[in-house]
Amino acid sequence: MRFVVTVAVCLAAFVGSVGCRVFVPASAEVDSSFPILPGQSREVFTTARPTVAAAVNDFFGRRPIAEQPFDFPHDIHVGKQVACTLCHSGVARGPVAGIPGVSTCMICHRVIAADQPRIQQLTALSEQGIDIAWKRVYGFVPEAHVRFNHAPHIRAEVECATCHGNIGEQGIAQRNVDHSMGFCVNCHNENDASIDCLTCHF
């Protein structure tokens, strides 16, 4: 009897934690009209995961691998001592570091490695005036209510790698570091930065 109760409780806890589709409110259609701010990803506000597999992946910290429309190798560029700020030039000025356009690539690649097939592909895009639709690797969902600003962190001399991992040794950028609130708060505590809620959440 005790075993049955234990199993039932575990099952209930599991179902509760993964969030069955049953719990998705009937007003889900209304929720999907929830407007998003420019540049923010669209996710439905619910603590439940869409599928059991998604919940299991989330539990084990497995994330989908970021796929970009164009294979940009970070390792080659960082290996050749190209500074992060050369392409992500907004980082010291304001909230977003920025993802460079093709025109930024062409500053160097008009000359450098111009015979490579991938660079020729890039040159073709540039001549047609088409930009690459990069996908965001990092970012907060609107429901996190986080207002992150890169500039103060750069002024405080936080290394890029502190939050973005060893992206210089990766090919296509992947999400190496989990930007949980604990991660942010630990660093803020260590460096005597403000941990008031209104520092980030407003």
Partner: protein
């Protein structure tokens, strides 16, 4: 650490409602429609109250913009079970949407009716969603919201001042209502700094606080000519 406060000169206020509109635009405050507004679910972080003074024919019309008074001894704070409503070091009465579980105790405790509950997810008819301010969160259904003294502008000015290694200048921060006030009835600034305009106005003999006897110690001072009707 500055203590942010506001002074409202009621003798200057013409009741035009510019501040209300500016507040809605700046803070992404959604509207709920006629029917829901009729049952008291409308949200206005800043409202203009209208008062008639005197007896006919010697009547006089007075307006009073009322926003969250950012009380020093805020009644909304101790009642919050999740500390979503709390006081910051710079004298702001903060509302943290992530923490809020929507008990609405704070709205019941507030003597100024300055807190508003989100009964619905915000929605705008297309293409009005394009006018949303990206610096301000959209509050989802089930949380409490209120005037923040445009904390996004306070934080932005603070960050900028720190980058330039200086203090925030008096008048540098203007919440949306202050910026839009044609009559310059609203003044925002640091109450700790004795030479700031808001601190000078707050000490004025014309000044009074709203519902002072509740002991909430609001940070907003209302200035009004002393009249004997």
């Amino acid at each position: 650490m500055p203590q942010w406060g506001m002074a409202v000169d009621l003798d200057r206020c013409t009741g035009c409602g510019g501040c209300v509109v500016a507040c809605h635009a700046e803070n992404n405050i959604s509207t709920v429609g006629d029917e829901q507004a009729a049952v008291g679910r409308a949200k206005h972080w800043l409202r203009i109250e209208r008062y008639w003074e005197g007896d006919f024919p010697d009547v006089r019309l007075k307006f009073r913009p009322v926003m969250c008074q950012q009380c020093d001894n805020a009644p909304c704070e101790p009642v919050c079970p999740t500390y979503a409503s709390h006081h910051t070091d710079d004298g702001l009465n903060a509302q943290v949407y992530n923490r809020c579980i929507g008990t609405r105790y704070c709205a019941n405790a507030c003597p100024y009716n300055a807190r508003f509950f989100d009964f619905f997810n915000p929605s705008w008819d297309k293409p009005l969603q394009l006018q949303l301010n990206p610096d301000v969160s959209l509050r989802e259904v089930g949380v409490m919201e209120k005037c923040t003294f445009c904390v996004q502008r306070i934080r932005a000015a603070g960050t900028q001042a720190k980058a330039e290694e200086r203090d925030v200048a008096d008048g540098e921060i203007q919440p949306a209502c202050v910026q839009s006030c044609g009559a310059r009835a609203l003044v925002f600034g640091d109450l700790e700094n004795p030479s700031s305009e808001v601190s000078r106005l707050s000490r004025s003999p014309r000044g009074s606080k709203l519902l002072e006897d509740t002991g909430a110690q609001p940070s907003v001072t209302y200035l009004s000519r002393l009249t004997q009707v």
